[in-house]
């Protein structure tokens, strides 16, 4: 069921202690900064977080990690010049890391949303990231068995939503949003604008509303903007 909520706090209330949370974004593009801040504020802990990276600088996901809320990261590229909070926790043995090639990360998330029980891929065959995994030769190529990554909650950012939750994105900020929306039991979206149902061209919908549970509008100042959904939905 779709809800338009007024505050980012309500939006992230679905995240509980122990939840697996997918967070959209690649670099800053598509990162739902305001939802991540609300998650930090919520106090939810013992989280498994799925994101391409493991936080940067002193903001967002990096702060969640610094505060010890993240038990495990599932990501492709945790090491960055300013990933010092992850680096410190990792070296102290205080955070678990499941390192996944980026294409496997995307395909495993997609598999979860599409009801696939697992798949074989050549990516990673013969490397240490395939150690302990089932392999087989298919059509002469070594392949590795990979399993879907499901989540309790996805936090993503889109450009616009209509009244039934259909989403469109902007440029490379689309990245993980559509596949995470489909892979999570509960999908929370922050958008810049909520538009009347019928004003988005049905040909151009990227994420259909069936995948969306909570929408909060963040105005350009970064504050949740209340009271718009009812007027247009």
């Amino acid at each position: 069921m779709l809800n338009f909520v007024d505050t980012v706090g309500e939006a992230v209330a679905a995240v509980k202690d122990g939840s697996t949370v997918m967070i959209g974004g690649f670099g800053n593009a598509g990162q739902p900064f305001e939802l991540i801040d609300a998650l930090l504020e919520s106090g939810a802990t013992d989280l498994t977080v799925v994101n391409n990276n493991a936080g940067q600088g002193d903001q967002g996901l990096a702060l969640l990690i610094k505060e010890g809320r993240v038990r495990k990261m599932i990501c492709s590229f945790p090491r960055q010049s300013d990933s010092w909070h992850f680096d410190a926790k990792y070296k102290a043995g205080q955070i678990e890391l499941e390192l996944v090639p980026q294409g496997n990360l995307a395909e495993r998330i997609r598999a979860a949303g599409a009801g696939i029980g697992g798949f074989f891929t050549p990516t990673g065959y013969g490397t240490m990231l395939a150690e302990g995994k089932e392999t087989r030769i298919i059509d002469g190529r070594g392949q590795v068995f990979e399993t879907p990554i499901h989540a309790d909650v996805a936090l993503i950012k889109a450009l616009k939503a209509d009244g039934v939750g259909n989403l469109i994105y902007r440029k490379t900020a689309r990245n993980f949003g559509p596949i995470m929306a489909a892979a999570a039991k509960h999908t929370v979206v922050q958008v810049s604008e909520i538009v009347p149902t019928g004003s988005l061209d049905p040909e151009n919908i990227v994420t259909p509303g069936i995948y969306v549970n909570s929408i909060v509008r963040i105005d350009s100042s970064g504050a949740a903007a209340a009271g718009t959904a009812e007027q247009v939905a």
Partner: protein
């Protein structure tokens, strides 16, 4: 061992990074779809000519990527895999991460150009992890690119700072992909790798004999048709 042809030295001096990038750019067939890895391979884009009609892919969800953005062009929602602001060319398209990696993993890219720590005589690639026990591993899209593209070109210096060859009999660093590299561009030579061993297309500032003294795997001159 007979090296056969030694007349494959095409430059009096080793090539600099920009000369090498220019050479890679020249070698990309017109109309190709290409992914340029982070770092040295990114330089190649500076030397692609409009008449080559090359389409650049960036794994974070775009075909038809243009040059790095400057000034007013900079848009936080339009970045490349290195998280640098870029531009969009006419005919560009955007797609989500699974669709983007399907392009790579499904064998639709003609060429990807990657940096490397080591390449083996049979084209194994090591470019993501030094294997140091205290290193934080990070792989990104390297394994998908190495495994998915029709041709994998490597750009690197031939020797480490300590003078060891990065072309090796077998990689000692953790692997990125098996038997995937088809061509290696270095400051001292261009190598063709594959099941037949390592063939040298051309050398820069050295003869094939001098090159062989640096590289611990048997080298042969590539047949003229492959140069």
């Amino acid at each position: 061992m007979s090296l056969v042809e030694t007349s494959i030295q095409t430059s009096e001096t080793p090539l600099g990074r920009d000369d090498l990038a220019r050479m890679v750019a020249r070698d990309i067939a017109p109309g190709s779809f290409v992914n340029l890895g982070i770092g040295q391979p990114t330089l190649v884009s500076n030397y692609l000519k409009p008449e080559q009609n090359i389409t650049l892919h960036t794994e974070n969800g775009m075909l038809g990527m243009g040059p790095v953005a400057t000034g007013d062009q900079i848009d936080g929602d339009l970045i490349n895999a290195g998280k640098i602001a870029v531009t969009e060319l006419p005919g560009a398209s955007y797609f989500h991460h699974a669709d983007s990696f399907a392009i790579m993993r499904g064998g639709h890219l003609d060429i990807c150009v990657l940096g490397a720590f080591q390449v083996s005589a049979t084209g194994d690639l090591a470019n993501w992890h030094t294997g140091a026990p205290d290193a934080i591993p990070a792989v990104g899209g390297a394994m998908d690119l190495a495994t998915g593209a029709k041709d994998v070109f490597v750009m690197m210096t031939l020797l480490t700072r300590e003078g060891a060859s990065k072309i090796v009999e077998a990689c000692t660093y953790p692997l990125t992909g098996l038997g995937c590299v088809t061509r290696v561009y270095t400051d001292k030579a261009v190598f063709l790798t594959g099941p037949d061993g390592v063939r040298v297309r051309e050398t820069f500032g050295c003869t094939l004999e001098e090159l062989q003294a640096l590289v611990p795997v048997p080298l042969t001159a590539a047949p003229a048709v492959e140069r």
